[in-house]
Symmetry: C2
Subunit: 282 residues, 2 copies
Amino acid sequence: MQASNDILPATGPAIILVEPQLGENIGMVARAMANFGLSELRLVNPRDGWPSEKARAAASRADHVIDAAGVFDDLASAIADLNFVFATTARARDNFKPVRGPVEAGRALRARQRSGQRTGILFGRERFGLYNDEVGLADEIVTFPVDPAFSSLNIAQAALLMSYEWMKSGLEDETKTNFSSPDMMPATKEQLHGLFAYLEGALEARGYFRPAAKKPKMVDNLRAVLTRAGFAEPELKVLRGIISSLDRFSPAMPRGDGSPGDDPRRLPAAARAAKATDKDQA
Amino acid sequence: MQASNDILPATGPAIILVEPQLGENIGMVARAMANFGLSELRLVNPRDGWPSEKARAAASRADHVIDAAGVFDDLASAIADLNFVFATTARARDNFKPVRGPVEAGRALRARQRSGQRTGILFGRERFGLYNDEVGLADEIVTFPVDPAFSSLNIAQAALLMSYEWMKSGLEDETKTNFSSPDMMPATKEQLHGLFAYLEGALEARGYFRPAAKKPKMVDNLRAVLTRAGFAEPELKVLRGIISSLDRFSPAMPRGDGSPGDDPRRLPAAARAAKATDKDQA
């Protein structure tokens, strides 16, 4: 049975499993593919036949990949319509095939895809991988940078890594993420120095900078610590709220029970100024 | 039980599983780690306790990772000795944490490792991931560039991808592979043109370039095809052997049965020259 979408242009490399042994692994491959935008799965002579309930179950929500999978009697038929094929292998073969790492391979597949080529990636049997003559049917080899002393990626893991590199190759910027952090540019120096003024005033009032000769160095250290952190404006607001709480209240007279700290007319000038500009103190 | 190697400098990030549910997943994580040179596994309150035979079995040859795994009652203890921690998560959280992709995260971990920092990566529960307060204990978030419509990496897959990016971050060149193809630089123009001369001589003798007016174009096409392929010297030897076989023998008088083609004195001059220089013809 040919893959049902062999008339449409491919949207990514076909993932081709050669004589996969376990249905669960086929399902895991489908699941890996779906996470990274691949949908064309081809099976060459699966050991336990097809369809496979174990594969469907292991695929979880990727059953659309399972349902569309093509099954072939031999490898040559499975790759007949492809222009370019990678073979995954962990060990060197004595042949002329160029060897790529997965990053390079992902980029090569993406470039070929963009120029209209149909591509595929071969994965071998759980125990034995691909035979030399099967590697011979491919164009190039892709191998993963595993620790040679412990090299045991299974087909689902290898398919996951190649699917991931495929996805990455299509990102404008490989640092792109599905969501990002809020904008954390450091606050302006005016905002930062405003915090320093408030904090240093509260500390001075408490005799922190003693003896007087030590004050310049202590101020310097305090400012260095609070500068290197690179606080953004929302973070400065949080800090100002903390300092305000420490400054205006005490365990004996906490905020909200009519203590002097609640009365803005009783605030130190710096805190009053800060309070007036704060929209949301802690 | 603290990780047994907490006195030695770390060789890579600790992989920390928060309330992992299935022993098989813990084993798969260990196996993913071992492939990419990581060995420090920490488990926070594993659901089914510890040790776990299922984990050991699924770890396959990575049982050294399983045996050295540290078990902790809570997350705070599991990360107490670390200087920097990533939390993996698929969905945005309303917080101040910087968000990185796995490539950036791998590089950040490597840079910190090199400057002597101890690092870790948190992975959440199979069903629920990490809770917000657990993400809060980390420094930064790492998220994978999955298809948002189908986002279902399990902890073993997430650990595999992070372990892989860790390994890659330590390679001088991310295209580096464990083995490489033989040197395939294109043959020199002298070698290539030597092949052209031989081939064109054999074809001319067979009346291939007819009519005569077409010959320049036909020669041009032939040379263009054999040039664009970029054959390396070993490949040219293979081609020369093929041409030689076609030129000197026939099905009626194949090589090795005393046919005229076997007698070097009967070779065309170009083939004789080629034969003299070939060490190993096909």
